[in-house]
Amino acid sequence: MQIILLVVSGFLSGAIGALMGLGGGIILVPILTLIFDLPVSEAVGTSLLGVVAVSTAAAVDYLKTGRAELELGMTLETITVAGALTGGFLSGLIPYQIIYLLFGAVLIYAAYSMARPRKKDTETGAGKYPKNESVGMGLSFLAGNVSSLLGVGGGVIKVPVMNLIMGVPLKIATATSNYMVGITAASGAVIYLLRGDIDLNKASAIIIGIFAGSRLGVFFSYRINILVLRLLFAAVMLFTAFKMIMKGL
């Protein structure tokens, strides 16, 4: 029975992760800790592996159809992984509470920017992109930093940076982010695996669900209304901001 529930949980997180370019960790970690009673380190390790699975399954389709921009993804990912490594060095030197609160505030502002009505060009791709590349790369470095310091998946930061700062259409930003989060999460997942923090039987069941769910997410990503996608993303950002602020207080 537990295996079937794990497959269903994986399916849900895979579908939402692939649709929104997040990886699905934001859904998987609470499910694993609250419903399956897994220790946090095991839940985070399993979730990272799940993010890699979502990214792999969704990227196959997004790269083939050209919706994920490989060069843009690799450019930003170079900076993000360097930021993640620096974040690893910085952890322990910076008070976590301050980072949580700052990050929460930034996410609330980004959620507001994402939800408010705006010009059409960033949605349809009519405008030229990427714009503000240097600013986008600087923020990607910070995203890598924060992602490593706080243990959050990069998608919730990468998508707004690409969409709001660099002018990349939202559907292309989510697809590109989907490819990128797999690269970021893979390094962490391998470390958790080598440390033996992941229950292989549970992880297998979740990954099978994720592979199936990702297909559904990709299917809907071509059909979903851009406004619905933006509002969904803003809701997820607000939820993450709330969690960060609660941790910081």
């Binding site: 295996i3 497959v7 592996l49 890699v52 699975a53 990214s55 792999t56 399954a57 990227a59 196959v60 389709d61 790269l63 083939k64 050209g66 994920a68 490989l70 060069e71 690799m74 450019t75 990912e77 170079t78 992984v81 360097a82 993640a84 490594l85 690893g88 060095f89 490819y179 797999g182 690269i183 999460a185 893979a186 390094s187 997942a189 391998v190 470390i191 695996l193 080598l194 992941i198 292989l200 039987n201 992880a203 297998s204 069941a205 990954i207 099978i208 592979f211």
Partner: protein
């Protein structure tokens, strides 16, 4: 077909091989585990290793293909990501 699309399609093909390999192994592990018919640890390890290594394989593939096509910038990005991966791995250990 421009070279950007070509690289994307080839990287997607590499990811697809890893995905299908992992699906077959992990399905075997999950079904075996559900029916309690044989020890599934080896299938689990192999399947999960394929999943965990897939993005790295994608980056390596992008590096090799872009090198062969003379796309130096993309090749450099792939190498930087791989170097940071290796550094991160040793730092974490």
């Amino acid at each position: 077909m421009n070279s950007n699309n070509d690289i994307s399609i080839r990287v997607a093909s590499v990811l697809k091989i890893f995905e299908f390999g992992a699906i077959i192994l992990l399905l075997g592990a999950v079904i075996g585990n559900l029916m309690d018919i044989y020890p599934t640890n080896t299938l689990n390890i192999m399947g999960i290793a394929l999943v965990a290594f897939a993005p790295t394989a994608g980056v390596i593939a992008a590096g090799i293909i872009s090198f062969r096509q003379g796309r130096r910038r993309l090749f450099a990005y792939s190498m930087i990501i791989l170097i940071v991966y290796i550094m991160g791995f040793f730092v974490a250990r």
